[in-house]
């Protein structure tokens, strides 16, 4: 980073990256630079990785989580999911690996991943502690910082760190009578570690050291919501809000240290609480971009949580959330397959785009209008070409040979568009 670049935003974001994002997003370059400088936009990627802007006024982005698990430690499956996610249009990918040779998996994914890549170092730190000490709870603060540095040095773009799971915020849980308790893996393991070790969260206590590592390797921080609700009953409770308040302070400290920051959010939230969650996060976290998991608007539809998440994601993004973490149909049931990854990315992209239309994101509504004009013209080639998933259109149409090229197998001669033409042509007044 040159001194000039630093002066521009206070972060290690070079002018070329800003220019590329401004062009992609069709927004003014000076406005974008100002928003990066104030922290309402986070700019990542560049230098071989697709430029990615997240935040105020930009297109709502979609992240796909992949990664091995102890039961499924193989690299190849995750590379297949990576490619499925990118081909489906994911704007970013997170490697959440917890099984196999995690360093190797991360490096191979990074080598193949053309988009921004995030990780969650805490999983590996706990896994290595179990190997080294025979108990995850034996992990030391230095162990954890060492794993963070290892991830950061591997050219990742952002890291999720659950810095807001503190003694205070965990204490707030006690009076909440949650049904789901803590459902974040990182959050629950950290809370257990704090209790077993009678110590504060090292990510909080040594936050300055964490920021120094991230600053050195130019990694953005995704402030994880370890206390997010995992049940509708637990949404927007004192524990969640306490953590958000802490994360807001940590956003300011990250900006001060020259580390770009965004904030993670729920989770499981009833439909009528979603907009309030956005207001709260944006206010308490000083306009930092909001990265949400779902939110899922019901707990009762396992097998369809890409849909429960798309409903919540659309409402949340329309209210101002900037970055949607996908949820796949396998959520709550098992590790996703490549097909689940595709379904998850597409559902989140639909949610993001539905929101972008009402956010007034440049070019968003124009896409819909082009599709509507193609429909009116019965122009099937254009409909397929500009569809969010042309392959799915081809597949669905291909299953249904039509007697008549101009209409489709649903209506045939009862086609409303053909009747509309007759309306316009047959009896001019």
């Amino acid at each position: 980073m040159s001194p000039q670049e630093s002066q521009q935003t206070g972060f290690a974001v070079d002018a070329q990256l800003l220019a590329e994002i401004a062009r992609d997003e069709k927004i003014d370059g000076n406005l974008l630079r100002q928003r990066v400088a104030e922290g309402t936009v986070v700019a990542m990627g560049g230098k071989g990785v697709r430029p990615l802007g997240i935040g105020l006024g930009l297109r709502t982005k979609v992240n796909a989580n992949i990664g091995t698990s102890p039961n499924y430690p193989e690299l190849q499956g995750e590379l297949d999911k990576l490619n499925a996610a990118v081909a489906s249009g994911a704007d970013a990918v997170m490697d959440l690996s917890t099984g196999g040779d995690i360093d190797r998996v991360r490096r191979e994914i990074r080598a193949e991943c053309p988009v921004a890549l995030g990780t969650v170092p805490i999983y590996q730190a706990f896994g290595e502690a179990e190997e080294q000490y025979g108990d995850m709870m034996g992990m030391t603060a230095d162990d954890l910082l060492g794993v963070i540095a290892r991830h950061a040095a591997d050219n990742i773009d952002f890291a999720t760190l659950h810095c807001g799971v503190t003694r205070d915020t965990v204490a707030a849980l006690k009076t909440q009578q949650r049904i789901g308790g803590i459902v974040s893996r990182g959050g629950s393991l950290l809370a257990a570690w704090m209790r077993v070790n009678k110590a504060e969260n090292p990510l909080y206590e040594r936050y300055d050291d964490v920021l120094a590592i991230l600053r050195e390797f130019n990694v953005a921080i995704s402030l994880g919501d370890g206390l997010r609700p995992g049940a509708l009953a637990d949404a927007t409770d004192a524990a969640q809000v306490s953590e958000t308040r802490v994360l807001g302070e940590l956003v300011l400290r990250a900006r001060e240290a020259g580390v770009q920051a965004f904030v993670e959010g729920p989770g499981h939230v009833p439909l009528d609480q979603i907009a309030a969650n956005v207001v709260l996060q944006k206010r308490l976290c000083h306009g930092a971009p909001f990265y949400v998991l779902g939110p899922l608007v019901t707990d009762v539809a396992p097998g369809y949580d890409h849909i429960t998440g798309a409903i919540g994601g659309a409402i949340c993004a329309a209210a101002g959330a900037d970055f949607l973490c996908y949820v796949t149909p396998a959520e709550h049931l098992g590790l996703p397959s490549p097909n689940d990854v595709i379904d998850g990315v597409m559902a989140s992209r639909i949610a993001a785009h539905a929101a972008d239309i009402v956010k007034g994101v440049p070019g968003a509504r124009e896409w819909d209008d082009r599709m509507s004009r193609a429909r009116k013209e019965l122009d099937w080639a254009t409909m397929e070409r500009i569809a969010m998933d042309p392959g799915r259109v081809r597949l669905t149409r291909g299953d249904r040979p039509d007697g008549d090229d101009a209409a489709c197998s649903m209506c045939g001669k009862f086609c409303s568009i053909r009747a509309g033409r007759r309306l316009e042509e047959d009896a001019p007044e």
Copy 2:
């Protein structure tokens, strides 16, 4: 109907049907009777058909459209879809057949259909006109009323009739510069008929005769929205609103004539216009139940319109819509398959339930809380049993043999719930 029953509500709704609906919905029987009497709830079914209440304070219901098309006239395929829809939990089914022996298809569907059945007589009326006169536009008003009577006599529960496509409302289209024009099949054919024949819509002009038929056979009227928007660009325009205003008058005339009425709505609507559409319909249509198709919140995702419709449907139902017509993944592409029917019903049920949680429908949130408790207990048997689609849960879990019964293949030893137990058990303070 006995005089006593008539006094109760003004409609041919017997006391037993009311009692069954009140019990199913867990609401007070007197309140339900009052709402049926005032027209804010429509009660259908009974006498061998599953009781169905639609409207204020009741669970949001889901309808599945099936029916032959000219290219796919076979009965068996539609019976397969009927069974798929009912097995997936559809509360009502509409037979929209336009191909093959339509009378036979309808009667066979009725014979097999355990839930409320609706039809759209206009399609058959136009189809028969084409056969009889060589041109759909040759249809007479008497032909149309004859087909309505034939449907009504076949023990259907409700009929969609596009009575609000009038000279006035169609004229309102002219200044709107719509992209999509008229996308309702019934609406577009009627508008073309009106223009070719230089005549008013017979469903409007002879509305009293229509009501007399429906009253005789105890069929509810679903006032079709022939001018609904078929593109985001066309939503909430003067043509749509003009038609809604007319439908509001027709609601009052239906109630006066002893015919239960509900009103259909869009369609394609940007996310931020959905709640306003509900306010408008409820106000202009005097609290009549609102039956919406979607609404779809983007035009660009053919192949995934069950998801675009679930997003809109959830928001719309949360704002007060009472009855969701499903949209399948095949929408805009072709006639749905039985699997598309299942995906469509499930997506709409998710939307309906997400809304019922925030509508405060009795028992809705309790279902989610039961699921959340089962998750907390890692009680997989209960999770599967009470899931909205137990078969899907079984299938998804079955694909992923878990090393550890207690956790799942996603997290394994990193399971947040297991860590939570350690948090509670390991180091009591």
